[in-house]
């Protein structure tokens, strides 16, 4: 968490511009990476596979994996469909495609994509597409988030869920250590039926095309892996439609990185644009506040003035009224007094003087008014 903001912005700026395999990514352009020129590949001819499980056996040995529950010579294992797991980097499955025909056998392992989804998804770059063609995994940096497993369209990487402190992601390595030593992958070497061929990807593609051309009635006219998910280094030829044996034909030809390039590309836009937009909104609301405050102040002042004026007017009129009332009362009293006087004078003519107390008239409710305003 101790990263500077600047560094962070640098990273997100760089996001989407460098790819996991250490070369320029073409995700945002219309160029496509078609693999390292000298990269190796394996061609699996499903029509030739006899389901002997010798490749599984070899893979287990060369990778020092724990011995399986049932021995590799036990072919009844093929009855249930299996997938790769933490201690099995490759599996052979069988499928009865039609009633009485003999079943089809097919091998499954990491396809060593040209632009691997796992590598694009890993946030520590634990996966790399090497120039040998193999996609390798570095367990010394892996955090164990398992996003690579979510990402892989072929459902290959497995995880050591049973390890408490040192779980790894595992998958076929294309026998990377053996390739470095100039040896063949274990499974290819062990295959007795030549269902697996190792070579340069371009050569194998040519070989596959050649087989289809020679035996059009035997093969489905499709080399699986030539374009799937941007192309893979494990190629397949088959005598039955691929989707009938569970190989997905709906993956498309775009490499995985392209699927997320748009979202990553939006990052610099958000970082660049948001402060401006939000700043604008802030400025507007600030200004609105200011204007509102000014208007309010003005309105308050005006209202006060008006109220004062009204109060003044009312006060004067009240006073006038009071004055008038007072006048009237005095007049009345005087009148009364005069009348009384006159009456008394008339009645008695004696010199008895009547003085009348003149009350002050009530002076309106000034107090309550001033307190309400």
């Amino acid at each position: 968490m101790s990263i500077s903001r600047r560094k962070f912005l640098g990273w997100i700026g760089a996001a989407g511009m460098t790819s996991a395999v250490g070369r320029k990514a073409h995700a945002a352009s219309n160029k496509q990476f078609t693999g390292y020129a000298e990269a190796n590949a394996v061609l699996h001819d499903i029509s030739l596979c006899i389901g002997c499980r010798k490749c599984e056996d070899a893979c287990n040995k060369v990778n020092d994996l724990p011995p399986p529950k049932a021995s590799f010579s036990d072919l009844s294992v093929l009855e249930a469909s299996r997938r790769t797991d933490a201690y099995t980097y490759t599996v052979v499955n069988q499928k009865q495609t039609s009633g009485n025909a003999k079943p089809v056998f097919f091998k499954n392992q990491c396809n060593h994509c040209l632009e691997p989804a796992c590598a694009s998804a890993c946030f520590v770059q634990a996966f790399r597409k090497t120039d040998t063609g193999a996609v390798t995994y570095d367990e010394t940096v892996c955090v164990g988030c398992r996003y690579c497993m979510v990402a892989c369209p072929f459902e290959i990487p497995a995880y050591e869920y049973d390890k408490a402190l040192t779980p790894r992601v595992t998958k076929c390595t294309m026998c990377y250590p053996r390739l470095i030593d100039g040896k063949l992958p274990g499974c290819v070497e062990a295959c007795p039926a030549e269902a697996l061929s190792f070579g340069k990807r371009d050569d194998l593609l040519a070989l596959a095309r050649e087989r289809i051309r020679k035996f059009p009635e035997r093969y489905v006219n499709h080399v699986y892996g030539e374009h799937e998910m941007g192309g893979t280094s494990w190629l397949y030829l088959s005598n039955v439609p691929f989707d009938r044996i569970g190989m997905r034909m709906d993956l498309g030809t775009r490499p995985a990185g392209e699927l997320t390039a748009g979202a990553l590309g939006a990052v610099p836009i958000v970082v660049g644009l948001w402060p401006i937009l939000l700043g604008g909104i802030y400025a507007v609301s600030k200004r609105k506040d200011k204007i509102a405050a000014e208007e309010q102040a003005e309105a308050v002042a005006a209202a006060l003035e008006e109220a004062n004026a009204a109060a003044d007017a009312r006060l004067t009129s009240e006073l006038e009224k009071a004055e008038k009332q007072k006048q009237l009362a005095i007049e009345k009293e005087v009148q009364k007094a005069l009348e009384e006087q006159a009456a008394a004078a008339a009645e008695k003519a004696a010199g008895a003087d009547g003085t009348a107390d003149v009350d002050k008239p009530e002076a309106g409710d000034d107090d309550s008014r001033s307190s309400t305003e």
Partner: protein
């Protein structure tokens, strides 16, 4: 009257303490099992299902529901809706705790949690959306911590530090909104890489937009929901301002939620049209999709609008709960229910009870921390020394 509320409040908390205590003890035991036996002892995760509820619920839903922090502070400080000011602190606190718990949950989920800083210090996998999520969540957690810090500093009586933290408010709000936009959307974008695994009705190139917009909905609804709960249990802690502003805040947020839900509904429809997935609505998944879209998007949109028009606060609050459930449902759909839809049912994931147990444990820790803080620090009221200081 107030005595009475305090009384009931107390008895609720005693029962609550008991339940919380049991959950915490269970959580500690499960934690021990997780870190001694590995993920396979406590989870039903498999090679086909590498992500379970700790990602689908704790991470995806947790982050969405913690959006109240950025939504509220943006509304008040950037959009200038000052009258909602009293809602900021509770929302920021909920956000901060929410993110802290998300990070805690990740420590259970990843294989080697002590390597969580590796993406930053070892090799930067910048092509990964998870990298973006990790970077933004880490930074945003720090931002939320700073945004929340004035309350703690006021409580501790550290005036100078508190005033310094307050000065940062605007900068933090801006930064928080940018980071939230980025990681809320990239949580959805995580699934862009797996079009072959996520059902087409949920998979869309608009996933990041959906996640971002629905996080606003979740944020608003959570502020409403959480304020209703707090109202009930922490009323004695609330200031007059908070209580006076509570109803206008409820109405205002309800209105906003209704608008955003309407927008969300429209972009969802656009998504189906762009991918031309109408025909899928007739399938089982289609019906389930319609339940989510009509029942948990269109319906609350309508109910919020009615609630605001009739000033029916109860309806708005109930709708908030419903909407929160809708967002939970959406995140679970994307991460678990519609994910791996192509696999046979025997290979599908159903959480182990111990996974649920740990999630419950983590949520309980959050509630306890929330209670600890609001009963001590100036969250629902302003510290007497700083009133009118904003």
């Amino acid at each position: 009257m107030s005595d009475h509320t305090a009384e009931t409040g107390k008895s609720v908390f005693t029962l609550f303490n008991l339940v919380a205590g049991i959950i915490v003890v269970m959580g500690l035991i499960l934690t021990f099992l997780r870190f001694t036996g590995g993920l396979s002892t406590v989870t039903n995760l498999s090679d086909y299902n590498p992500w379970g509820i700790w990602i689908g619920f704790d991470l995806l839903t947790g982050v969405a529901l913690a959006a109240g922090g950025y939504v509220t502070s943006a509304a008040v400080y950037i959009f200038g809706m000052k009258k909602y000011h009293s809602a900021v602190r509770p929302a920021v606190l909920t956000g901060f705790l929410g993110y802290a718990l998300v990070v805690l949950a990740l420590n259970y989920d990843v294989g080697r949690p002590w390597r969580l800083p590796y993406p930053f210090i070892m090799q930067q996998g910048t092509t990964s959306l998870l990298f973006e999520v990790a970077a933004c969540v880490a930074l945003y957690l720090s931002v939320l911590f700073l945004e929340y810090s004035p309350a703690a500093l006021e409580w501790l009586g550290l005036k100078r530090a508190r005033n310094l933290a307050i000065k940062l408010t605007m900068a933090l709000t801006f930064f928080g909104v940018i980071l939230s936009t980025l990681h809320q959307s990239s949580l959805g974008a995580l699934y862009l890489i797996a079009p072959s695994k996520l059902h087409p009705l949920w998979y869309s190139t608009y996933l990041p937009v959906y996640f971002f917009v629905s996080s606003i909905i979740a944020g608003i609804s959570m502020v409403l929901f959480e304020s209703t709960l707090s109202h009930r249990y922490f009323k004695d802690k609330m200031s007059r301002t908070y209580l006076d502003e509570h109803n206008p805040v409820t109405l205002g947020f309800g209105k906003a939620a209704s608008y955003v839900l309407a927008g969300y509904f429209i972009i969802k429809i656009i998504g189906i049209s762009v991918d031309n997935n109408w025909h899928l609505l007739g399938t089982g998944y289609g019906v389930w999709f319609l339940v989510e879209l009509l029942g948990f998007v269109a319906l609350p949109c309508f109910l919020y609008a009615v609630g605001v028009r009739e000033k029916n606060l109860l309806l708005i609050r109930c709708t908030a709960v419903w909407t929160v459930l809708g967002v939970v449902l959406n995140r679970l759909n994307v991460s678990l229910i519609a994910f791996n839809y192509h696999l046979p049912s025997t290979e599908r994931y159903v959480p182990h009870w111990m996974e649920v147990g740990i999630t419950l444990f983590i949520v309980t820790l959050g509630v306890l921390a929330f209670r600890f803080i609001v009963t001590r620090m100036p969250i629902f009221y302003e510290h007497p020394d700083y009133e009118d200081a904003h």
